[in-house]
Amino acid sequence: MLRLTTGRVGCLLARRATAAVTTSSTRMASKEVSESVDMSQPMYWDRADIPLPDKPYKDVLTDADKSLKQKEKGPWGQLTKEEKIALYRLTFCKTYPEMKQQTAEWKTVIGGIFFFLGFTGIVIWWQSVYVYPPRPRTFDDEWKSQQLKRMLDMKINPIQGISAKWDYEKGQWK
């Protein structure tokens, strides 16, 4: 699913480049930032799960292309390997391996995540140094141990909680 999108973007960008030299797509006279797609016309796409698009990749054929198409009507055994590849490239923009090719997008994503995590860490450190008030004395180790002793003496949570884990006979944790 995720691989689909990046491959599709890649060929749509290639399609924009070819649209500049071909007249296969409808174009507005005025200048636009993005090309508008007429969805009522047959479209071309590169999708691994929908193998055959509505129309071939190259609509407008040069004379050489046209003569190749004529040769395609004959027996295919007479086509050379390069001609077969050229015919494929007329009908399709990408091959399946090209469509499914891995991108390096994950590196950018992971890098971005680490960058923002690091930035957050810097903000947190700065806060703890320059913003927070001094800690209450109840967080001192001595106070905390006295507090814990008091909790055990009071049998706080004696059923499954903290006092249940203390062995009162032996005076140690279970």
Binding site: D49, P136, R137, T138, Q147, I156
Partner: protein
């Protein structure tokens, strides 16, 4: 009270809280099962290479995923309603205590036999003795006899407060001009802490509730001493 970094409930100190703990276990197990199942489906959908673009009609699964959630909800609702009605049972309390919320302290009135009333202020951090709990200790605790049904009438003198003690399974809003009734039984002796649970101004976090459950003899001694003091 909770120990540091505690995530779950405190141990129950009343029968109602025990019921609530068991119900929570039941509902949470259902929630974990559903969440695990959904997470598995999400991972399966995202990582598959298979596609099917021609699905139409799927009566069997539609029936299943309509009926099964309804059944699950009933399985959650039945124990929940049971506990709800259990909490409203007639319980013939031995003692009635009025807890009045003020800005920013509680006051308790034991007026069944004599006129006993006192205020319960939080002890400031700088006044704590070593080992006491910060923001939880009070100068005068609400002492109750253990293993006795207690009726608590909760109200407020100024703004909304809420009287809550998690280990007893009690929370009741303190509304000015209104008497809200709740009941509890302290099954075991001990000191049970709670905090004001309705925003009531600057010191809303600094008006805790402390209930001390003691044997009846000690309760009688305490109330005699308190009456002498006032």
């Amino acid at each position: 009270m909770a120990h540091p970094s505690q995530l779950g409930f405190q141990d129950a100190a009343s029968p109602v809280m025990e019921e609530l703990l068991h119900f929570h276990d039941h509902a949470l197990m259902i929630v974990f099962l559903i969440s695990t199942f959904v997470l598995y489906i999400i991972v399966a959908m995202v990582t598959t290479n298979l596609t099917n673009k021609f699905i139409l009609d799927s009566q069997e699964i539609e029936i299943i995923w309509t009926l099964l959630p309804a059944v699950i909800l009933i399985l959650i609702a039945l124990p929940s309603l049971r506990i709800l009605y259990l909490m409203d049972e007639i319980n013939n309390p031995h003692l009635t205590i009025k807890a009045m919320g003020h800005q920013w302290y509680w006051s308790y009135e034991y007026t069944d036999y004599e006129d006993l009333g006192f205020d319960s202020y939080m002890i400031f951090t700088q006044d704590l003795t070593p080992g006491q709990f910060r923001l939880l200790e009070v100068d005068h605790r609400m002492v109750v006899p253990m293993e006795s049904p207690i009726r608590a009438l909760i109200s407020a003198e100024d703004v909304l407060h809420s009287w809550a003690v998690p280990s007893l399974g009690v929370k009741m809003d303190a509304v000015p001009g209104r008497l809200n009734q709740t009941a509890f039984i302290a099954s075991r002796p001990g000191i049970f802490y709670g905090q004001c649970s309705e925003i009531c101004g600057a010191n809303h976090s600094f008006m805790p509730i402390v209930v001390e459950a003691v044997p009846l003899v000690h309760f009688e001694n305490w109330s005699s001493l308190m009456l002498e003091d006032t």
